[in-house]
Every structure is written in C-alpha cells, then in structure tokens.
C-alpha cells in the first residue's frame, strides 16, 4: 500500500516538475533554453526509438537519423506551401510514422544476416543514401527542394491554435516553444510508456534473447527474422514521429539536419545513458542535449573569470569539453550512467 502511495507521489512530483519546468526556465534563462528543452524531449524520443534497435535487440544502427529524416520530410511535403498541401498534423504524423516504419523494414530485410560492425556500416550507408537522395531530388523533378530545404512548414495546430503562437493563460504567457514543449513531453511520455510495455512483453524478452545469443534464441523457437524486423520497424516508427515533430517545430527542414553526426549523437545518448534501460536513455538524451549548450554558454565567461581573459577559443573549448566528457563518462561508467540492472550484474562479475 505504502509502496503504491510512494510511486504515485513520485509520479505526481515528476509531473509537476515537467509541467513547471518551461515556465521556470523561460523566466530565468530565456526562451532559447526552453527551446533546448524541446530538443531534449525530441532527442529523448529519438533515443528511445534507437534504444529498441540497439539497446533491446542489440543491432548496431548508425543510420538511425534516416527515419527521422523520412518523418520530417513527409511532414514538410504534406504540410507546407512547397506543394501547396496543408494536411492536418493528426493525419501526417501517423502517416510519417508508418512510412518510416516501412523504411525500417526496408533496411532491416537485406541486413538480417549481418552482424555487429558489418551491420553498422550498412546502416550508416543507408542513412547517407537517404540524405543524398533528399539533397538531390530537386531535379529533374523537384520533390524535396534539394539543399535549399523546405521552409514555412505549418506548425501543429491544436484546438484551432497554432503552437508557434503564444497564448495567455492564468496570467502566464505561454510562448510557442513552451506549447511545443508540452506536446513533446506528452508524446515522449507516451513513447516511454510504449517502451516499458514492450520491454516487459513477450517481444521485449525475445529481443533481449537475440541480443544475448541469437543462435540460442533461434533454438528456443523465436522467429529471429520477424522479431528483428519488428525491432527495426518499431524503432523507425518512433524516429518518424519525432521527425514530423521536428519539422513542425522548426518550420524548416533541409538535408543538412540529417547527417551522420546526428546518428552518432543519438547513439551516444543511448550508450552513454545506459543501453536498454529506459530511464538511462532518457538521462543520456537530456545530458547530451543540454551539455553542449551549457558549455557554449559557459566556455567564454568561465575562462574570463578564471584567467581574466579568454585564452582558448570558446567554440573550440566547448567541443573539446564535450569530447572529453564522452570519454570520461565511458571510462568511469562503461555500461552507461544509469545501466540496466542485468548489465550491472554482468559488469560486477
């Protein structure tokens, strides 16, 4: 009984913190930081999707951002002046998720036999192929508008109110970035819920079985092919949803946003946080979105305070610190900051 009480209390507390976070951050640090929080929520969704593929099923995917790109571009094409199509988001987002899921299967099918690093390079190639196509499909027929990208994408409209516009409620002005924040957080919570349910399901256990030993899993009667494809499809679906949100939030997409470095970044979030462990992945997503921004803010002034002048280029220092943080975390916590208890046991032996 008390246990139950405690967990409800905890959830209420988390809910409260999530609800007031943008208001507090917006008032104290400014809307740019709320925007950072929005991105944190987006990246957490992405990382949770990739976590299914890498963390649960153990398939190293270096081209995950491609699904994000597919979702984003689908939204951009169906909801912008580019083709003059303005579908509502509740039609486009699920469609984006579906199409991204199909791409997931498309990638998964030919790569079922590959393992480890071979899979990594093929997925990397897949990601680059998608990006190159997005960059090039403006001739002979202009589909994606090429490197110029698609601008003036429709923001998501809820209850007749576009989320990019601010709204006054209960004496507080909720800016566009704040409204988007609430939407993203709600959806991220939904994805967390799905993730947790999946993890404890028959399918989730099958993924873990494949991750630990594919041959043994097969011997136990698991249809490894379907289960792996399902992992790719599920992961891709989450990527597609976050892509659509990204497009509506930025109101602009261009192929530059979907490079290999983005894939690597999302992978870092998963591994750094704790592969296969949902709270860990959330932590990883949060940290890796906020850290570079914090370094950006701090690199110049801190030097100023310590040495009286800016000795090192703050921009170089920012990335330098970020790289060192990646190394340091992995050295001290090789299984991630907040690993799954099963992994922890492995590490202990």
């Amino acid at each position: 009984m008390t246990e139950n009480h405690k967990s409800w209390l905890g959830m209420a507390l988390i809910g409260f913190v999530l609800a007031i976070a943008p208001i507090v951050v917006g008032a104290s640090l400014g809307n740019a930081w709320v925007r950072v929080l929005d991105f944190a929520a987006l990246y957490i969704m992405l990382a949770l999707g990739l976590n299914i593929v890498v963390g649960f099923a153990g398939l190293l995917d270096l081209g995950y951002i491609a699904f994000y790109a597919v979702g984003a571009y689908l939204y951009a094409l169906l909801s912008s002046p580019h083709f003059g199509i303005h579908w509502p988001f509740w039609a486009v987002l699920p469609l984006g998720a579906m199409v991204a899921g199909m791409f997931g299967v498309l990638l998964g099918a030919p790569t079922l036999r590959l393992r480890g690093d071979y899979l990594a390079i093929v997925t990397l190639g897949f990601g680059e192929i998608i990006r190159i196509f997005l960059n090039n499909l403006n001739s002979p027929i202009n589909i994606t508008n090429g490197p110029k990208g698609i601008a003036r994408i429709d923001p998501i409209t809820l209850f007749g109110h576009p989320l990019s516009k601010s709204i006054d409620f209960a004496g507080i002005t909720f800016t566009g970035v704040m409204l988007n924040y609430y939407l993203f957080v709600v959806l991220a919570l939904g994805i967390v819920f799905v993730g947790i349910r999946l993890q404890d399901s028959r399918i989730g256990r099958a993924w873990v079985a494949i991750r630990e030993d594919e041959v043994a899993a097969k011997a136990c009667g698991i249809n490894t092919r379907n289960i792996k494809l399902l992992a790719f499809a599920m992961g891709a679906t989450f990527g597609g949803v976050s892509g659509g949100l990204f497009a509506s939030f930025q109101e602009f997409v261009s192929p530059e946003s979907f490079g290999l470095l983005e894939s690597i970044m999302v992978l870092c979030m998963v591994v750094l946080g704790g592969m296969g462990h949902i709270p860990g992945v959330i932590l990883g997503g949060l940290l890796l979105t906020i850290l570079p921004e914090a370094f950006r803010q701090g690199a110049g002034p801190i030097q100023q305070a310590m040495f009286g002048e800016v000795l090192l280029d703050p921009e170089a220092l920012r990335m330098l610190l970020f790289g060192m943080a990646l190394i340091a975390v992995m050295l001290y916590r090789p299984a991630g900051l907040w690993p799954e208890s099963r992994h922890r046991r492995e590490m202990a032996k």
Binding site: V54, G58, L60, P110, T111, R113, L114, R115, G116, D117, Y118, A120, I121, V122, L124, G125, F126, E128, I129, I132, F133, N135, N136, P140, R211, E212, D213, E214, V215, L260, I264, L267, C268, V271, L272, M275, L312, D313, A316, L317, M319, L320, F322, G323, M324, A325, L326, I327, M330, L331, P334, A335, H343, E346, M347
Partner: protein
Amino acid sequence: MDIFLQQLINGLTLGSIYALVALGYTMVYGILGLINFAHGEVVMIGALSSLTIIRPLADSGLPGPVVVLIGLFFAVLVCMALGFTVERVAYRPLRNAPRLAPLITAIGVSIVLQQLAMLIWGRSYHSVPALLPSGTHEVLGATFTEVQVIIVVVAAVTMMGLVLLVNRTRLGRAMRATAENPAIAGLMGVDANRIISLTFVIGSALAALAGVLVSANYGIAHYNMGFILGLKAFTAAVLGGIGNLAGAMVGGVLLGVIEALGAGYIGDLTGGVLGSHYQDVFAFFVLIGVLIFRPSGLMGEKVSERA
C-alpha cells in the same frame, strides 16, 4: 578509351589512399575487434604535423623529397605517441567493457583531436608545398602524376610489408595469438597489452604516412580533413573484409574505382537523371550488395559471434 583509362587511374589513386587509411583501421580491428573511429583524425594530425616541419624547411635548399622524409619522420613520431596515448587513455580501460563503450570513447577522442588541431593549427586551410616530384606523364592519352605513382606504390608496399609482418615474424605471431584470444596468448608468454599497444603504434605510423601522402596529393590540409576520409576508409575496410590486410587493399581500390567510374559514367548511362551527385550512393549500394552475398566482406573470414 583514354577517358576510361584516366578514370581507372583516378580510381586507383583514390583507392590507394583509402587503402592506406583502411590498413590502419583493419590492423586495430583485427586484433581488438574495435572500430577506431579516431583513426581518420590521426591521419589529419599526421598531415598537419608534417606540414609544421615541411613549411619552414621548404625553402632551405634541401632537396624536396628529403624535406618530405624529415616531415614524415616527425609526423610518424607524433602519431605514434598519439596512438600510444589514445590506446592507454581511451581504449585499454575498456577492454572488457560492453562492446559499444569503446565506440563512444573513440567518437570522443575524434572530437577532442579535431578541436585540439583547430586550436593548434587554426581554422584555415593550409597549402602543402609541392616537394615530391610533380611531373605529369601521359599514357594513351591519360595523364598521371609522379605523386600518384608514389601513392599507389607506397600503399601496395605497405600492405605487403604488413602481411609479412603479421604472417612471418615473431611479433606477427604474437599479434595473431592476441587477436585469437588475449588470455590464452598471455598464458603462452605473450604480453597482450604490449602487443596491442604496438599494434596501435604501428597503425598510427601508417596514419601519419597516409596523412603526408594525402596532403601531398591534394596540396591542401585542414583540421577537418580526417573525418570523411576515415569514413570512406572504414567503408573500404568493411568492403574488403574488416580485419583482413589484403582485404583492406582490395576494398580500398575497389571503392576508389567504383567512385570514379560511378561519377564518370552513370550520369550518361541514365540519361542524366542520376549524375555525379549520386557518387556516394553507388558506393554504398555496391557495399550493401557485396555484404548481402558475402556478409563478412570480400576477403573476410566468417566472423565469430561477438556479443
């Protein structure tokens, strides 16, 4: 015909560059099963540090190739020290960690090296003085430069040297034993840590060599040059069968030739719909195609399952 031959020459040079870098990837992978994502950055450090020596010596009156050799010597030293340090700091502590942990530190190292290089050598592109013999020759209407010949020869010789090292020497036997099973190799009196360190040091020396040749070939060096090069080389190594020295060479050359012929001909074959902007797409399609039929690369052995 002369155009086709020229494209082959282009592809062969480009491929040899990939191969030189890929050899470093493959050596480390062969022994540790680790993708050393920072290898491309070591190549970059090699190029830039050699330039630091070459620049002031360029007008000293010493013959060009001698200056380049001095620069190369310096770059090799720097890179060897770097390779040794990186292995010690970022990879060794993670020898028994989950498989993806060293991948993340490798990415971290890559970022750190890039930013350090930017702090040391600045943001601008550096021109590399043309000190190697730069004459142009013509065969059947196709031209090639002496630097290109040097690159192809050096890549081939290096590959053969490494094959001999691995297969014929005591050190090579120790390397193979360590690759097979470090613990058992240890029981047989092989100091696995030392061997792994040595592999990194040799791989980094190769990176320095590659860096010097790449910058000499393109006449330009920049702190950002390593990443794409490393990526292509990694692709080449996988194409050939990662962990296999001859495979790295074959994969590199094949990738170079595919890129050259792809950029040169697919545009005309498809009526201009798919032009040279799809060059990398062809390369990746070929890679995926090869891996579907040979899941461990062209010359790779069947990989044991690593969890």
